[in-house]
Symmetry: C2
């Protein structure tokens, strides 16, 4: 006799995300998720192919929210302000859910990965911003400079790799400001010794 499902994919993903954030990736076991959802571990496989699939779904949820947030951070009076706003939004996002952020950029088996379109959606606002800062011909390189710095800074911060004291907020602002000038140099304003100026 058919019995109604006692849980759902949505509940499983949401619960998985909460466990991930509270206990870290190692704490995200199928048994833990099952228990929290009121079911035994084997039942999860009715909704999810395997643990890798669950992780993939969590990653996709988080990446979607990140893309939304990056998009929303644009639209200020100047590109420099957009950069500052986007950087702050990015950092805040990572701080609000450090485990999920880490997971998104971690050593990732293919099966954990987010769909390429989702990655492109998150990349788009960064590309747009980089183009307005450094000119369209440097949009991709510029976006990679911004993304590498922001991701590296936040990752090292979360991993507690910055161990020499000092003010991390100030270091972050320093980065934003110098990147701003670095990207704008060569775009309109000619700088001594910058061969790429035009």
């Amino acid at each position: 006799m058919p019995t109604p499902a006692r849980t759902s994919l949505g509940e499983i993903v949401q619960t998985g995300r909460r466990i991930l954030e509270a206990e870290g990736l190692d704490g995200l076991t199928m048994q833990r998720v099952a228990a929290e959802v009121g079911v035994r571990a084997p039942s999860l496989y009715k909704h999810v192919r395997d643990r890798a699939h669950l992780i993939h779904l969590i990653n996709s949820t988080v990446a979607g929210e990140l893309a939304d947030m990056l998009e929303a951070s644009l639209g200020h009076a100047s590109p420099a302000e957009d950069l500052a706003a986007m950087a702050d939004a990015y950092r805040g996002f990572a701080h609000a859910q450090p485990e999920a952020y880490r997971l998104m950029f971690a050593r990732a088996p293919e099966s954990w990965r987010v769909e390429p379109e989702l990655g492109e959606r998150a990349a788009a606002p960064v590309l747009r911003l980089a183009a307005s800062l450094a000119g369209p011909e440097h949009a991709l390189d510029g976006a990679r400079l911004i993304a590498a710095w922001a991701n590296g800074f936040v990752s090292m911060e979360l991993a507690d790799t910055f161990r020499l004291g000092g003010d991390l907020d100030a270091a972050f602002r320093f980065g934003v400001e110098r990147l701003s000038t670095a990207l704008v140099a060569g775009h309109g304003i000619a700088t001594p010794g910058d061969g790429a100026a035009h």
Copy 2:
């Protein structure tokens, strides 16, 4: 009757490192290391406290080599050349042993961590370089800008997060050049709008 040890800490760490690089962190099991070293898993615990300790020892070995390499990359005619050389050395190091590199900066239980002094030894050349580029008063912020960018770039590259095509080597050079100018701006050369210049 006392029997001679059939393996050694050195052999265990070296073997562990080889397995890590070949099979990834998940492949680095105590059983695998034991088998490769010609012993059963429980015997490893004569030399190593637990798996976390083995990982810590591998991390320390790698971090030591990285520190050596960063130190050796300095000493060119100009700070800009030093930055380019150090960045290339860093990236080459990561490419030569991607799994070990990832592990060093990964979500790390306290017990995996490298000793603070080792981290400081690796940081020292970067600080020295940043001071010569941006002036001593911006050494720490500058070093963090460089380190965040380099680590972010290499991590994203290794994680295959740069998925929009283009030339990654060129993107890396772009980063080096723009960071160079960004750090030097405000140091000696006054730049319009840079209030920190003196």
